[in-house]
Amino acid sequence: MNIKVQNLTKKFNNYLAVNNISFTLEKNKTLGLLGPNGCGKTTSIGMMLGLITPSSGKVLINDHNVDSANRNDLLSRMNFASPYIELPKKLTVRQNLEVYGRLYGIKDLKNRISEISTDLNLNNFLNKNTGELSSGQKNRVSLAKSLINKPDVLFLDEPTASLDPDIGDFVREYIEIYKSKNQITILLASHNMKEVERLCDTVIMMKEGKIVDRGTCEDLVDRHGRDNLEDTFLKIARSKNELA
């Protein structure tokens, strides 16, 4: 699946959260969405997931508008993970995966839960309440939920935020391996520049609702004359807006 974002704008009352952004995310590629806090990343993802109605512009997924009549068909092939969105705490990990497996209409759900639990090392706490898990465990459960339907498009909002380096590395490595074995398009919003360099094919830099630069990580670093993506990010974040 590919995603085409065309002249997407979102205005909340007088606040322009996303200002006329356009980009294409090619099938089986990973796009990094970068920018300082409040630059419009989450709002953009919300519009791509059909959770927020754009003020103008559109999101096309495989040339279908995400808010169209076949929204459920599109959503059944997409998923989303974010540390800021949780699963019901009073349900066990297995129960949560079962609930979401059913919502996504997964056939042979028992095997799918077993498969994903093994892949993400969830077996030791499958019958534990989700609310009792550590941040690292919760994060892996959230990732398991986001992959339960084997999505064609995966939205990841800061997937390793607040994780220790070991678990963070495990998650990044898992995403890399999963991507190499499956046909999947990923949009990754992150503040971890090393993560972005490792996982993303191309990067979009946002600031104050606009796209201010785009390209591969190497292109951006070269273009801005910096040594790495982190310094490049800082330069862009602290400079005046320049439209790409």
């Binding site: 979102k10 909340f12 959260a17 989450t42 709002t43 919300g46 997931l49 059909g50 959770l51 927020i52 109605t53 929204r71 459920n72 068909d73 959503l75 059944s76 997409m78 998923n79 989303f80 974010s82 800021y84 969105i85 949780e86 699963l87 019901p88 705490k89 009073k90 979401y100 919502l103 996504y104 209409g105 939920k145």
Partner: protein, 263 residues
């Protein structure tokens, strides 16, 4: 004692109240509702204390039926609030589910939650007070249907508020039923209400349901037209509830609350 700190802490709560209209409304109407409800009950017993003389258990039956309504509505709201409290809201709305499926799931699950709470109370009332709601006979089924439809309609309306305005609407969720109680004529006949309120009350199915309950228990007769009327009015409220839910859903998408509700 550091008054600056006390003032600072007070401000934290004052700001919370000032920033939320539902919270202000909640503070105002609870005492008012209590005064109305118990005022009417007191007036009724002062004027016609002989009304219930020969009918043991009318009040308790009314209380049980009212609780059925209360539980069905609160169950509906609770399930939605659970999603907000657990910050699971966005996960739910990006899953391939239709709004009609969400409404249907909540409606079906609410009946289980309601019955879990109600059945023990109904059974306890029989040996403890000698009161059985089953004395209402077959009409009980239809009265419960009317109550349930109205209960989930209120649940839908409150849920719509939660969807649109977020967790600050939570207080309304808890209080929605008490708000209607004085007008519902649950414990007293409609004649107790002032004329103007009688007109409004007749637009609620509760009046017809509880009038019919008293009619069956006191006069030992069944007014089928009244039962049908109560079900039809409940269905109208349900249709309005569904419509408002859809409007709220699209409003929430426009406002962006689906992605950050609960935060």
């Amino acid at each position: 004692m550091n008054w600056h700190k006390i003032y600072g802490l007070s401000l934290r709560h004052i700001y919370l109240i000032r920033n939320s209209f539902p919270r202000i409304l909640d503070l105002i109407y609870w005492p008012s509702v209590q005064v109305f409800l118990w005022g009417f009950i007191s007036e009724f017993f002062t004027v016609s204390s002989s009304y219930y003389n020969n009918t043991v258990g009318v009040i308790l039956t009314a209380a049980i039926l009212y609780d059925f309504l209360f539980r069905s509505s609160i169950s509906y709201n609770m399930m939605f609030l659970e999603e907000i409290w657990s910050r699971n809201f966005s996960n739910l709305f990006i899953a391939p589910i239709k709004i009609s499926e969400i409404i249907a799931a909540l409606t079906m699950t609410a009946i289980f939650r309601t019955l879990i709470g109600l059945v023990p109370a109904v059974l306890v009332a029989i040996p403890l007070f000698g009161v059985s709601i089953f004395k209402l006979g077959i009409p009980l089924i239809f009265l419960l249907i009317a109550l349930y439809i109205f209960g989930i309609s209120l649940g839908l309306l409150v849920t719509s508020g939660l969807l649109r305005f977020g967790p600050s609407f939570e207080n309304i969720a808890w209080a929605s039923l008490f708000f209607l109680a004085p007008l519902g004529c649950i414990y007293y006949p409609i004649e107790i209400l002032p004329n103007i309120l009688q007109i409004i009350a007749k637009g609620l199915p509760l009046v017809h349901i509880f009038e019919e309950m008293r009619n069956i228990l006191i006069n030992q007769t069944v007014n089928i037209a009244q039962i049908i009327k109560s079900i039809l009015i409940s269905i109208i409220y349900f249709a309005v509830g569904v419509m408002v839910f859809y409007i709220s859903y699209y409003g929430a998408k426009k406002k962006g609350t689906l992605i950050n509700i609960g935060e």
